[in-house]
Subunit: 435 residues, 2 copies
Amino acid sequence: MNRPAGSLTTTVELINTGTELLLGRTLNTHQQWLCRQLSDHGYTVKRQVAVPDTGEDIHAAVREALTRADLVITTGGLGPTSDDVTRERVAELLGVTLGPHTTVERRLEAFYRLRNRRMPPRAALQTLVPEGATVLFNDHGTAPGLVMSVPAGRFRPNGSWLAMLPGPARELRPMFNTQLLPLIQQHCPPPTSLLCRTLRTTGLPESEVEARIAPHLEPLLRSGLELGYCARPGEVDIRLAAHGSEAAQQVEAAHKLVSDELGEFIFGEGAAELEEVVIGLLRDHRETLAVAESCTGGHLADRLTRVPGASEVFLGGWIPYSNALKHAALGVPAECLAAHGAVSEPVARSMAEGARRIAQASFALAITGIAGPGGGTPDKPVGTVFIALSQANSTVVLNPRNAWDRATFKAVTSQQALELLRRALLRKPNPASSP
Amino acid sequence: MNRPAGSLTTTVELINTGTELLLGRTLNTHQQWLCRQLSDHGYTVKRQVAVPDTGEDIHAAVREALTRADLVITTGGLGPTSDDVTRERVAELLGVTLGPHTTVERRLEAFYRLRNRRMPPRAALQTLVPEGATVLFNDHGTAPGLVMSVPAGRFRPNGSWLAMLPGPARELRPMFNTQLLPLIQQHCPPPTSLLCRTLRTTGLPESEVEARIAPHLEPLLRSGLELGYCARPGEVDIRLAAHGSEAAQQVEAAHKLVSDELGEFIFGEGAAELEEVVIGLLRDHRETLAVAESCTGGHLADRLTRVPGASEVFLGGWIPYSNALKHAALGVPAECLAAHGAVSEPVARSMAEGARRIAQASFALAITGIAGPGGGTPDKPVGTVFIALSQANSTVVLNPRNAWDRATFKAVTSQQALELLRRALLRKPNPASSP
């Protein structure tokens, strides 16, 4: 790609195709994800448009965007079904022919062979590539992405670039990161370098994070630092960004001020998830973990096992949803269950100690509580939860009240459990510095 | 509002204003919510646009939409802060003046009085209303919504309606439902009612779904039926929609044709998730379930326990990630692990039977496999997986090859396990029809 001559910034527009978007059947997560990736790399999306899967609407939207933008990115409509018309309509708009692409054909055949599946006849449509297009290979699906150069004078005095990405998120995201973004960065560098750093915190609400850090950042904000917050269940991200030659010093100074105020509430930077940080600490300390989850129903284990290589330190777990299984699988005494109820401090403690003993792990986390919407009592209302962490010689139990909907309950409770373990691991001597 | 003369349908466009949308810091939930409400009432949104909070971008987007649409709805930019410029820019575009509105002033003063808060000076900006506008009162915040008539001949031969809604969802949603929608329905009746039905399938790839049903739907498509597909990991949705007085018969006829072709590949309708269907079937049949998941690491149990009331039928599970735990917790014989390896048909079988026995469940699902990216061998490459379903007197084992990224592997594998159980439950005699 060549930087369109005469432009001071790279103007980017995004077109999401899909009738389901306009019918409100699907949430447009591509918009947020792509805009976020682009802005983190210094590109500002100037306009986003969603249009239905009809040829005319796609044609009109792409045509209009090409009169305004240096780079137009489309999502969707590259698959094999009859409502996938982006490739054909764009070829028509640009006046180029479609022809079969040998490498795409070979990869498509291999895709089906690897999965022991017969290739349906319509799938071959995906091997058609517009004349002159660069192919973005699809490592997670069948439809390749396409990048085309639109010559100067065709729709605007400067030329444009048009990139087409497939609709499924698991195909679009790696294709953008590993193939399209490097192409964009090479040929359309952002006008000034934007330095953006995200600090990730857990354990404080957004207003508390802001109250603690904003006054200290005032002078930097006046000299151009940009500050943003993003709150999710159990997490608040702090976004520090700066442009220009002073950017590195400004972001560094802001990072230091935020660290001084928030200390251990910061669990990581960038895209680090809390479960990745915890798996990394367990690995560094050569410790192992088992879990026993009742009310979170496997969500904590699911998070831990999202991390590649988790099996080095995560031995496994139990989901003793019924009382009988708490006793049969983890050895929680029947008297303890009868005397205190399944949602209680002694049961959480017993679950953690049982899990640690049976799995022969150095740490175990146990969770028992009432996720809701049913099951609450005046004594133990919905949201009551006990989180136990057992290690050699000690077991501690937290008792937060997480009165949320069911999905948020699981997210927040598993976050608190991971954070309890992270803080315990931070207290341990650094294995690298021990003899 | 008067129905614009000569139009056969009401064309609607949606404009979402907000720099945070283009920076990817916020997910645009307004789009899905408003599109869904409108389509449920028979209005089809033809285009959605997101632009930053700058005056020029809002001006350009509203101007363009008014050349095309009968009804333009904007969200955001009506509040009191410096980046709220929609009201001013629209007044300027339409050439009308802004003036204070007595009722809005009174309501704003009451809003602050009720909360014992001083009214900030900038808040008064929200009492300014464009000449001739209809006010939509805000029962959950401070900024009123506004509806304006754009005269015929100004931007297009027919006139248009322009509605402006405030940005916060808790203000926008009730304002739309109780004030804007009745206005739209009264003055822009939808040409014909839209009937939309979504059938959810699992077990067939998207192209195969289409190959099976599309030829049979041809005659209905020619007479106006709309057909769409949406593929997610392990699932393909089929959307059947029709307008007008024949809509119910058309959708019903299409549903019957699709059912005839796809039969049990259809697991539900509308927003039903496979785990909800399975929990419902278990409840209907008075059966219970336990799970033992190695490579999916709790994802299957997490899905099952997302369903409120899952505890009635889901007894719990194991995540025997390590080989030692497969033996210690589930009784998988050490010789079996040594002879066949943890990822094998006999180990999957033994895990399922152990889980069923210990939990005293009527059904148990077990999963063992290689999620990747590491751990593959020539014999057992990444994506190899064994899924066992144990019930009284029989255990069956599937051996698909799920060569995907880690997250998709978990989604697809848990889907196959749930589907294996759903098919088994469908084979059982209906408990309602037994004596």
